[in-house]
């Protein structure tokens, strides 16, 4: 094994595969790309997402997770890109040295001209929520339960309460029901679901599973296995604390948690790259390059996406720009602009724009802070010039928004004195929520 590669991609899921394909298309030869995948197969978490709904944007058809992954695995294979499986990256440094271990290669150190971080995310756990009670078996994250059912072929329980109405929780409510379990309810601490609207309809409403908004689990019962949970309504006005007197005991043998995803950035942090406190991912420019030159980040490790299609799209940007860097085709940055969040916007990606003398169209992705009806989404310059404006009938934190800024507008910014652009929403009134 040579110990230098032009490009190392950490992660062989949808982000890593798309980045690899895109880097190849941009001129990096397959032999110069090392893709490290910690699982025994490429495809990432898609392999256990056997439900449909993937690929509508990217391929214009509805695919299952393994099918979507399969498309990209095939694209990589056709280009001769090899994914090293069972290979776990252990460290990354700012000067692009990577160590990893795998049964085939053993413990290995490699350097690279560019590194793309595509490690994905993990699920938040019971511990992070600090749910009191006992610690029996039967408390699973939704993804863990999904693996038991879809990969191992076993049911993790029969009577289920789900906490959190994120997409995985919703999908698992349906999956468990279809496999014969009784899903008693889905509790959501927020006054709205964090999942996609289509999933609420198709996974809960169609099966008559109650969604209890502004409710949480306050205690887990059972010594060996879960025997029940206590749920309670929360007070929106009082830090979403449980309201005394609203407690309800629900008998169940399983508690599934779908309470958020956290970008898996231990390697990023280990490299000394600062994380954005809102995304829990690295802060990047429009090329998805982090503060460390030649280290890129994309997919759920950068920020949690709701659709894999957008992961692929983002990773393609990282792959293309890593290739340009490797091939010496990058242009010098002539103007730096910060992307600020304004009213109603929780975060943006990218967080900064490094404009060259010949900027291209670019898209700013962002999430809103609340469900709001009748809005305008706006990108404005420091001096108050509106770069883009888009009207929408409603926005929700569970659905990512984006706005494209044209090359022409960016060109005009080059000579301005502006140091930032701001993304915000205008609330046009009407009955909210």
């Amino acid at each position: 094994m040579t110990n230098h590669k032009k490009l190392i991609i950490i992660g062989g899921g949808p982000a890593g595969l798309s980045a690899a394909v895109s880097a190849y298309e941009s001129g990096v030869s397959a032999d110069d790309i090392l893709v490290l995948e910690r699982d025994s197969e490429a495809g990432g978490i898609l392999n256990q997402c056997i439900h449909a709904g993937f690929g509508l944007h990217r391929f214009g058809e509805e695919l299952s997770g393994p099918e979507y992954a399969g498309r990209y695995i095939k694209m990589a294979e056709e280009r001769g890109i090899h994914v090293t499986t069972n290979a776990m990256a252990l460290s990354v440094s700012k000067d692009k040295a990577v160590t990893f271990v795998s049964p085939e290669t053993g413990y290995t150190a490699v350097t690279a001209d560019a590194v793309i971080l595509a490690m994905g995310c993990r699920e938040r756990t019971r511990g992070a929520l600090n749910i009191p009670g006992t610690r029996p078996s039967g408390v699973y994250t939704a993804g863990c339960a999904q693996r038991y059912i879809n990969i191992e072929g076993f049911m993790p329980g029969k009577k289920v309460v789900i906490l959190g109405s994120g997409d995985i929780g919703l999908i698992m409510a349906r999956r468990m029901t279809l496999e014969g379990a009784e899903v008693k309810c889905v509790c959501e601490i927020m006054p709205y679901s964090g999942g996609l609207r289509r999933n609420i309809v198709q996974c809960l409403d169609d099966f008559g599973i109650p969604l209890k908004l502004s409710h949480t689990v306050t205690e887990v019962h059972g010594k060996e296995r879960v025997t029940g949970v206590t749920i309670a309504a929360v007070d929106e006005a009082n830090g979403r604390r449980p309201i005394p007197g609203t407690e309800e005991y629900i008998e169940c043998d399983t508690l599934l948690l779908s309470v958020g995803l956290i970008p898996e950035n231990e390697l990023t942090r280990g490299a000394g790259i600062q994380l954005d406190r809102m995304t829990n991912g690295a802060s990047v420019n429009q090329f998805r390059e982090t503060e460390a030159e030649g280290i890129y980040s994309c997919g759920n490790v950068l920020h949690v996406h709701d659709l894999v299609d957008f992961v692929s799209e983002e990773a393609a940007i990282a792959g293309e720009n890593a290739a340009k860097k490797i091939l010496g085709k990058t242009e010098e940055c002539v103007k730096k602009l910060e992307v600020k969040t304004g009213n109603g916007v929780r975060y943006t990606v990218p967080e900064r724009l490094d404009l060259t003398a010949h900027p291209e169209n670019l898209r700013i992705f962002f999430r809103v802070t609340d469900i709001i009806k009748k809005v305008q989404l706006i990108v404005e310059t420091e001096s108050g010039e509106v770069l883009v404006k888009k009207a929408k009938s409603a926005v929700a934190p569970g659905e990512m928004e984006s706005l494209e800024i044209s090359a022409e507008k960016l060109c005009a910014l080059l000579d301005s004195g502006d140091s930032y652009v701001k993304v915000y929403i205008n609330e046009m009134g009407g009955d909210n929520k």
Partner: protein, 485 residues
Amino acid sequence: MIYDVLIIGAGCTGVMTARLLSEYNCSVAVADMASDVAAGATAANSAIVHAGYDAKSGTLKAKLNVRGNRLMKELAAQLGVELKNVGSHVIGFGDSDLVHLKELYKRGVDNGVERLEIISGDKLREMEPNVSAEATASLWAPTAAITCPYGITIAAAENAATNGVHFYLNFKVTDASSAGDVHYVTDGVNTIAAKYVVNCAGVHSVEVAKILGENDFPISITPRRGEYMILDKSCGDIAHSTLFVCPSSRGKGILVSPTVDGNIIVGPNAYPISDGDDKSTTAPGLNEISEGARRIMPSINLRNVITSFAGVRPTPDIYDFYIKHSEQLKNVIHAVGVESPGFAASPATGEYLVSLLEEAGLKLEKKDNYIPTRRADGNHKQWNRLTDEEKAEACKLNSAYGKIICRCETVTEGDILDALTSPIPAVTVDMMKKRLRAGMGRCQGGFCSPRVADIIAQHTGKSLDEVTKNGGGSWLVVPREGGIK
């Protein structure tokens, strides 16, 4: 067979005793109701090797704590278990606390604790910059240490098993009888016969004493529950030593301490409960320890909590440990009410119990072939604790060390297979977790627990639906009808 000695309870006290006995030519059995050794208070405490200034001078507790502190360090070195001499501060806020710190200082000196020192609040903050600006003084005890209490107990149990001690897990003592010089102790299915019985049953020790035949046992126990939280390793450097506050009547008070694995532990409170096996946490309890932690360290970020748990300590109705020959039963010894600093004391408590056994007539003759390590081939080091060169070498010799199963804690398939073939095979998900930390990291087993369960199933010839979290009814997946293999 008739064992020379049966130890009831495989917590730190029982295991340390068994380990010492395994140096001699005598047959020893250890029985525990749990599916693993170190499952009770040993698994859930502050993970501190207390220096020994806390217990009142002249008590057995004080004596065993101070000696245990020294022996624990030797034992950790011998068994290759990590122990860090981080020291501890007892932090005082104001003049009345200073009076108390001086008392503790004097007590410590009387107990034989070395290098104790009372330092100013400023000196304290020089050593621990995150400590509250309101702290005015501290009792600094450099001999206090941190280690993993269940880790070292498991290591000692493996060492004992390697030297012939038999462990009976999932053995809940329900009845006992004796005939001649032999005691017969049963769990209703199997019976263990032994000439001497040592009761180290922790929170259940009074129950066990009664089952063994004690009438009017002189001690009673109140289970006292303490809740804890663990913070992510990313904030592991907020404290460099164990930070106590001045003690109250309800235990040593809430502490903030680094753990030997690089996390931060916060807790405990202390409340009497009726069910000694009730290890549940409560919302008010977790709030209480959060507030206690903020008092020591106002800047502590409790959003970094990765898990919480509770431990139950056997608090006796007397001040001291009760470690004595039975007044009624021949060749029965009780170790009852061994609460904090029971873990720190345990290597010395083991010595003391061995001396009581000898007093009762047990013949102690050293073995020629005693193995001082966890396994016959030495102390096995986990892959992620090796140097880079050793890691590479291990992968070359066995590719299973190149396959990471637990990502957060970098546990390899090789490590899991080692634990499965260890002297006390790890056959549940929690046993793996306690030995290797698989599932103890940030994702709390979300990724690795199905994979760990799978490897256990494959290796033990079971189906996944037969693997449990920690024995008994702690099933992981719904059993398939007909028990498909």
